[in-house]
Structures are given as structure tokens and as C-alpha cells.
């Protein structure tokens, strides 16, 4: 029963040279045709896709970095602007304050000066007036006295007397005579 089987088994390891030839032919033809029609296009497509993906990732990374840089720039610019605005504000207030103070000081000084010059003027005028009044009073008194005691006294004695009288008058003229007040 097993004899034909063993005979057939010897066929298992029998190498047919024809089949080797046909296999080689088929394989080479398949390899050439497939390389030309299938593997070439598929592989180039795949490579192109890989390149595209790689470049997309690369450009996405680059763009992202750029955007981040831009954002950072914007942020610093905004912060800078804010800082500048605050600084300007502060400086403005300071300047305003300074200006106001300066203005105040100046006006105060001016007012002071005005007051001083007014007082000086007043004093001057007062002194002038007083002198005038005095001289007038002397003249008046001399006239009056001359009229009263016309010939008794010589001119120089009369004058000295009148001067003496005038010296006796109060200086500021608060209790001066009506003649003094009128000239002022």
C-alpha cells in the first residue's frame, strides 16, 4: 500500500529544470513589468508624500516659531507702549506740577515785587509829599509869621525859628495839620 506513495514521494524532491527556467522567466518579467508599472509610480508617490509631509511639518514648525516670535514681539511692544504711556503720564503730571509750582512761585514773586515797588513808590511819594508839605508849611508859617511879626525879626532868625517849629512836627504826619493832609 505504501510502495506507490514512496515512489510518489521521490517526485517531491525531484527538481524540474524546465520549471526553474519558467520560474526565472516569469520572475524576471514580473519584476521588470512591476518595476515599470507599479513599484516605480507607487514608490515615487510615497516618497513625494513623505517629502511633502516632512516639508509641511517643517514649515508648520517654522511658522509657529515665527508666530510665537511675533506674539512675543507684540507683547513686548504693548508692554513697552504701556510703560511709555505711564512714564509720559507720570512725567506730564510731574511737569504740570512743576509748571504750576513755578507759575505759582513766579506769580507770588511778581506780586511780592509789585507790592515792594508799590510800597517803595508809596514811601517815595510819601517822603516827597512830606518834604513838599514841610517846605510848604515852612513857607506858610513864614508867610504867616511874617505877616504877624513883620519887622521884628530878620529873615534868618525867622527861618530858624520856623525850622525848629517844623522839626517839632510829628514825622509820619498822622497828627498833622489839615494843610499837610491836603498836599498828600
Amino acid at each position: 500500500m505504501f510502495l506507490p506513495s514512496v515512489l510518489a514521494a521521490s517526485n517531491l524532491v525531484k527538481v524540474q529544470p524546465g520549471l526553474i527556467f519558467w520560474t526565472l522567466v516569469t520572475f524576471v518579467i514580473s519584476a521588470v513589468v512591476l518595476k515599470w508599472k507599479a513599484w516605480g509610480p507607487i514608490l515615487s508617490l510615497v516618497e513625494e508624500r513623505e517629502k511633502q509631509i516632512a516639508s509641511s511639518i517643517e514649515s508648520a514648525k517654522r511658522e509657529r516659531a515665527e508666530a510665537e516670535k511675533l506674539l512675543a514681539d507684540q507683547k513686548t511692544a504693548i508692554a513697552e507702549a504701556r510703560r511709555e504711556a505711564a512714564e509720559m503720564m507720570r512725567r506730564n503730571t510731574q511737569e504740570m506740577e512743576k509748571f504750576r509750582e513755578e507759575l505759582m512761585a513766579k506769580s507770588r514773586k511778581e506780586a511780592e515785587e509789585l507790592k515792594l515797588s508799590a510800597r517803595r513808590e508809596i514811601d517815595e511819594q510819601k517822603a516827597k509829599a512830606i518834604a513838599e508839605v514841610r517846605s510848604m508849611a515852612v513857607d506858610l508859617a513864614m508867610e504867616v509869621a511874617g505877616k504877624l511879626i513883620s519887622e521884628r525879626m530878620d529873615d534868618s532868625k525867622q527861618r530858624a525859628l520856623a525850622e525848629q517849629f517844623v522839626q517839632g512836627l510829628p514825622l509820619n504826619g498822622t497828627s498833622a495839620t489839615g494843610a499837610v493832609r491836603r498836599t498828600a
Binding site: 500500500m1 510518489a8 527538481v15 520549471l19 514580473s30 513599484w39 516605480g40 509610480p41 507607487i42
Partner: protein
């Protein structure tokens, strides 16, 4: 798939039943797996029909080399040693051509997609591209290297898909497994061998290639070294040949023997055990069809990588991979 399997099992069970009248299950199985000069279609509950008889083509290598001679088995046409080259088309030749045509058709359908769209659409194009990328990245570039790898990708792809399609064709009822034939696997290994040597000569130059054959030892050791290195060249394709052949053949024989147990033991109840087992083996065979195609392509890439690496020893690609590894384990697991 389960339905297909049950159909498959019942078909062969029925055919084996018909053959069982001669009570020669091993004979039936061996007859099924070996090559034949005709295509038989097995008919359930009937005798197989010789559907196609292939033309015989014998090329005499010497005068009158192919004249039939009388031997103890009857009239026979002499073999190659006696001066007759048998170039006949056989069952396995037909299966191989069918696989090649199917492969080309598949690739033309799913490989020729819109060139302007870079992303594949549909399951077919996606699976195809996944396998192509797998062969390119995991086999070619990992084993051969980044610079030299892409050059051998088309070869490895053809090897992978051609073997895969032949393996898968053998899983279809009425078809045969061309890769379960020693001549086919030998020719495929021969292709890898030639490519490997060409890769070595390309990488190292003819001088470097020949120098590598001396093993880099002192000249007085050459008489020992050169035969060893030359032997080493041929063990690689031999291993490729035997691995693919034995795996594909063994799977089919185991599958048929499990079904044949029904007739060997002579009781229908055996089917309750042997059919599920045969189903499991069938599933395993589907897996092995992929694994063996992968292993063949992977080892081809490995051998090419080793050959390329001897051209530039300073590069670290290729030659530190041990030839053993998952492939051998898978092969052994399958035998066990």
C-alpha cells in the same frame, strides 16, 4: 471564511472518499501536492477530471536525447542527466503564471491611482501601500541601509508579492501551490543569490569581492578559507530554497493528512476531530503564506545587506544582524 473552509473540507473529504476506494490516502495526498503535466479538477463524490493537458516540450541536448526508453517502470523520457531538457509546462507553471497575472492585475487596479492625490483612498490601495512601505522601511532600509536600501526595494517587493500570491493561490480549492515545488523555490533563491552577488560586487568592487572570498586570512590558509567562503555563499540560497519549499509543502500535507485520517481510520466520527483540526491548519496556512513571503523577502534583504556591508566595513548597517532570529523560530514552529 468559515463557510469556505467547510466547503473546502467537504470537497476534499468527498474526493478522498472517492480515492479511498483504492485505499491509498498517502498516495492521493502526494499526488495532489506534486507537480503534474496536466491540470486535474477534483469532483466531489467522483473521479478527478483531467481538465487540461499541457503540451510537452522536450529539448534534446544531444542527438536523439529525448527518445523514450524502456525502464522498469515502463516507457520513460530520459532526464537531464541523460541529455534531455524537459521544458514542459506543468500544473505548477500554470499556477505560477496565474499568480503573476493576478499580482499584476491587483497592482494595476490598486497601484495606478490618481497621481495628483498623494493619499491613498480605499482599502485596496491602503493595504497595498502599507505592504509596500513595510517592505521598504522594515526590510530594505533596516537590513541594507539608508543609502543602498532603496535600490533593492523593487526586487524585494517583487519577491514578497510574487511568493505571497503563489502561496495564497495554493489556499484556493482546485489550485496548487507553486511554492511547494523545489524547482520554483530554487529559481527564486537563485534570483536572490544573483542579486546578492551583484550587490556585493557593486559595493566592494570585483577585487574587494574576490578578496572577501579569501576571508581576509594569510595566503597559506586560502586553500581552507576559499572553499569555506564559497560554501557559505551557497548555503544561503539553499536555506531559502528549503525553507519556503518545506513550509508550503508540509502545511498542505498536514492539512490533507488530517482529513485523510477519516479514511485511514475508517470511521466517519473521526471527522468531528479532524475537520476542526484541518480548519485550524488551514488558518495557520493562511498566516504562513504571509510569513513565508515575509521571511523570504526579509532573508533576501539580509543577505543583500551583508553583501553590501562587506563593501564598506565601517558602516554599521546590515552585517550585525544574526541570520537566525524570528524567521527561524517561525519556520520551526510551523514544522512542529
Amino acid at each position: 471564511m468559515r463557510k469556505a473552509m467547510v466547503l473546502f473540507a467537504s470537497l476534499f473529504a468527498a474526493t478522498a472518499w472517492a480515492a479511498g476506494s483504492e485505499d491509498d490516502v498517502p498516495g492521493y495526498i502526494l499526488h495532489h501536492v506534486v507537480d503534474s503535466p496536466y491540470l486535474e479538477i477534483e469532483v466531489p463524490l467522483g473521479n478527478p477530471i483531467k481538465a487540461l493537458e499541457f503540451p510537452q516540450w522536450h529539448v534534446p541536448l544531444k542527438a536523439n536525447g529525448c527518445a523514450p526508453r524502456m525502464t522498469e517502470h515502463g516507457e520513460e523520457i530520459p532526464g537531464l542527466m541523460d541529455g534531455c531538457l524537459d521544458m514542459s509546462i506543468t500544473k505548477h507553471t500554470l499556477m505560477m503564471w496565474l499568480a503573476a497575472l493576478l499580482l499584476m492585475a491587483t497592482l494595476f487596479i490598486w497601484g495606478n491611482r490618481d497621481k495628483t492625490k498623494l493619499v491613498p483612498r480605499g482599502a485596496g490601495a491602503n493595504i497595498l501601500e502599507m505592504l509596500v512601505l513595510f517592505v521598504r522601511d522594515e526590510l530594505a532600509i533596516k537590513n541594507i541601509g539608508k543609502e543602498e536600501g532603496p535600490r533593492y526595494v523593487p526586487f524585494l517587493l517583487t519577491v514578497f508579492f510574487f511568493i505571497l500570491f503563489m502561496n495564497m493561490l495554493g489556499m484556493i480549492p482546485w489550485m496548487a501551490t507553486a511554492t511547494g515545488n523545489l524547482a520554483v523555490t530554487m529559481a527564486l533563491a537563485l534570483c536572490t543569490f544573483v542579486i546578492t552577488q551583484v550587490a556585493g560586487i557593486r559595493a566592494a568592487g570585483l577585487g574587494g569581492y574576490l578578496k572577501h572570498l579569501t576571508g581576509g586570512v594569510a595566503p597559506w590558509l586560502w586553500p581552507i578559507m576559499i572553499p569555506v567562503e564559497v560554501l557559505g555563499l551557497f548555503t544561503k540560497p539553499f536555506a531559502l530554497t528549503m525553507r519556503l519549499f518545506a513550509n508550503m509543502l508540509a502545511g498542505h500535507i498536514v492539512f490533507f493528512f488530517l482529513l485523510g485520517l477519516i479514511f485511514l481510520l475508517g470511521h466517519p466520527a473521526v471527522a468531528a476531530v479532524s475537520v476542526p483540526f484541518a480548519f485550524a491548519i488551514f488558518m495557520l496556512e493562511l498566516f504562513v503564506a504571509f510569513v513565508q513571503a515575509y521571511v523570504f523577502a526579509m532573508l533576501s534583504a539580509l543577505f543583500i545587506g551583508m553583501s553590501v556591508a562587506m563593501g564598506h566595513h565601517h558602516d554599521d548597517h546590515g552585517h550585525d544582524h544574526p541570520e537566525a532570529g524570528p524567521s527561524h523560530d517561525q519556520g520551526k514552529a510551523h514544522h512542529a
